[in-house]
Symmetry: C2
Subunit: 221 residues, 2 copies
């Protein structure tokens, strides 16, 4: 049973928090088959900067943003120490089966297969969903810097509450969230279970792996 | 006779200037065999940010910074239109021979051959020198946002003058410059002629190709 965890880029902004998260991921990979997909982090923001400044095409920005995920993958490997970088879906499964933590560098896979449309509505959320579905993963875990999906943006609105569960269909209708535009469609198409969890509390990831209740949002496909 | 031109990243900060530079490069590539190597641009600054913030290893930062060059390569291709991206030294020569402009994405070459040490003293300057020497290029042209190499940093000191010529040996002794630490050593070892020129005045690049005097600095190996 394989789990894919995408590590959001904003988590790299807090050094000690990132170290704790990486240690927990290494620890759970001794017991569970976990495959890491990196987010785009500040590297993707730099792509966005030039996209706006130089009116780059969506096609170019998409490729540059995928390289940003590779960059963040190298960063995560540096912090994790014993993880293994790989460009290959097959190798990632084998590494996880050996109870070591693989970090997928998605550029080769995504630039050769090119399965998703090129727009800012497709980020590392959708890319990790594509990878999770290709690996026939049991669960996709989106590790972000928020506790889960809220009824409204908690930064902008005070009167909002976190959802323990939400259907991908409902996500499609009203954007309440911190996930990208295409994600709900992929989850429905691939019938993939997805979780949004706060990486600042790494123990909650373990709860998802164990199927135990905790603070996170489950997205039902 | 092949010329390698490395396009400095800071030139991407001025849209219309970059467009003019790219148009000139496309124009000269009809007459001369020119191969483009991208700099690291703001993408490499982002790598530096995380290098400092997370105490990343030089090894990791080196790989991430090489991906930054690929990102800038995609950006340059977007602005240039008719240029051709390639991961291969051999292909770049063939494309240039056909009087089309190749842009080398250096990650595959550099991560597989790994010929240079991993430190911030090795930037896209040295990487382009390595590529120029591998291509047996006649001249390496470092296209930057300054007129050339000065006796002292012109931003910090008023009483400074631009050097028309400087030996790589002298560059080794006193850092007067806007080039990276390893560059002079590579130029001497490979006996490679190198020029520093301002990309905000693209006509000066043509002067170097034609061997005519103009405002630039020649580094004698």
């Amino acid at each position: 049973m394989v789990f894919v965890a995408k590590i959001g880029g904003s988590l790299a902004e807090d050094h000690s928090g990132l170290v704790r998260l990486c240690q927990e991921l290494i620890a759970v990979s001794k017991k569970y088959e976990v495959v890491i997909v990196p987010g785009g982090a500040r590297f993707a923001d730099t792509v966005r900067y030039f996209y706006d400044k130089l009116s780059l095409s969506d096609d170019t920005a998409h490729k540059m943003a995928i390289l940003a995920m590779d960059q963040y993958g190298f960063l995560l490997k540096d912090v994790m120490g014993s993880a293994i970088l790989t460009h290959s879906l097959e190798d990632s499964l084998q590494i996880a089966k050996n109870r070591t933590l693989p970090i997928i560098l998605p550029s080769k896979i995504m630039l050769s297969l090119d399965p998703l449309k090129h727009s800012w509505g497709v980020t590392s959320d959708s890319i990790s969903a594509f990878i999770a579905s290709s690996l026939k993963a049991e669960k996709l875990i989106l590790v972000k810097d928020v506790d889960g999906i809220f009824t409204e943006d908690p930064i902008r609105k005070r009167d909002t509450r976190m959802l323990r569960k939400i259907s991908a269909k409902r996500l499609l209708k009203g954007r309440t969230g911190c996930v990208d535009e295409l994600l709900p469609t992929i989850l429905i198409e691939k019938q993939l279970k997805c979780y949004v969890v706060n990486g600042k509390h790494p123990d909650r990831i373990k709860s998802i792996l164990e199927g135990k209740p905790d603070i996170y949002t489950e997205i039902i496909p």
